[in-house]
Symmetry: C2
Amino acid sequence: MEPVIGEKNHNLQKSAVQIEKAAQNGAQIIVLPELANTGYVFNTRAEAFSLAEKIPTGESTLFWLELAHRLDVTIVAGIAECDDEKLFNAAVILGPGGYIGRFRKIHLWDEENLFFEPGDLGFPVFQTRHGRIGIMICYDGWFPESYRMLALQGADLVCMPTNWVPIPGQDPKREPMANVLAMASAHSNSLFVAAADRVGIEREQPFIGHSLIVSHTGWPVAGPASSTEQDIIYAQVNLSDARRKRNWGAFNQVLRDRRTDLYDTVLGSQIKTGWY
Amino acid sequence: MEPVIGEKNHNLQKSAVQIEKAAQNGAQIIVLPELANTGYVFNTRAEAFSLAEKIPTGESTLFWLELAHRLDVTIVAGIAECDDEKLFNAAVILGPGGYIGRFRKIHLWDEENLFFEPGDLGFPVFQTRHGRIGIMICYDGWFPESYRMLALQGADLVCMPTNWVPIPGQDPKREPMANVLAMASAHSNSLFVAAADRVGIEREQPFIGHSLIVSHTGWPVAGPASSTEQDIIYAQVNLSDARRKRNWGAFNQVLRDRRTDLYDTVLGSQIKTGWY
């Protein structure tokens, strides 16, 4: 979708139209972009703070909770969260039965560092009727550790609200690197990824769309979505395949094959701090 | 190239033709496939052991050392190594000035587990006249930790001797997942990758070729090579770019942005052992 900066009510209503349409078409898990209720390009921390809400008692969470209940769907949506004086680039996961949990973006991108606190809740995995769902937001996906943390806790699906922007070095003739990263990580962790990006230009910042649903094999099963227009992409998958296909034949299993003895021991503290 | 199982002298001579041609065309760092001197599909451990050599005193290492010296090039080549009674799927790195070092494949694939010991030397990074070079072999590249271990020690270039085989779930209309993994890892670690695969069918096992050279941006700068024919691909790059481009503008640097506080602390021991 294309949120408008600061127009929270407008954005919520716009999200409701998309959510209702998706649900009518059979969607059971619906992912919205990063900061779907507020827009992304804040000018000041004060602006971001004025738009942020408590979770789960704020108006946006309550609005989406009503939809999740009424439409019998699970919704993952990006939201600006305030917790006392702290501000987070967060996401909520909401089911038909109510509030399930939240995620706070861990790796902050660019000027987000001016406004938001870095996430302090780790990488939770949420039990849902559909399976185990983890969440990450945008730049979190640049860190293979994010996927590992979720996979090692058994996540079947990563829902990724995102606001992907054009990046230096992108080959314009090829799919965005954001898509390549999602594919590689889905493959090497054997989990599904549903990444919902926004579109449009906000305060001169363009976004690239290209929302994607990736199977546990690493290959897309839906998308990429439009780079400029609002769009919904759908995939019907069996999340249990994430668990089944972690076995590569008789000898190999992609998570158990990790050599944690060497990751942790040989380099000692270098793996934690390093130099570069 | 296309090694022939058990025909070590033939394979070495074949590699010399390719190395001489590459050097004549200006190559300074030359990468050969995994197990380039012996072939890959051993029937028994005894067969593999009979073909393995000590490093650096075995005939294959000495053969390639002479080429490296005479042609003034750096060579990275896959080799079966014996160390007393132990057997490793290894690689050597050899410069004009002599033997630089070795790597032992850490993540063993399929029936390699029947014949080889898992690598016990960690992820060394070698100083060369061209910059800092790390090595991994084939299935090592499925583990983002391999790239992280090398990047955190400052590697500019990963040389990857490989024997990529067809994998389940590969979308035949798309580039091999092995290429996608190399691209994603080059990008998220800001380092160059030079992956040299073999071609041909050996004891009914096909190999997929598609050797690739990837820049620090994650985009290929040469290849993919042929999937069936011997081929040499070339790229001229500035390895220093690996270090320069780890900075994403004013706020972000892809390695320093890691949240090791959360990778290590929040999940405690789960990140090391996990359940899946």
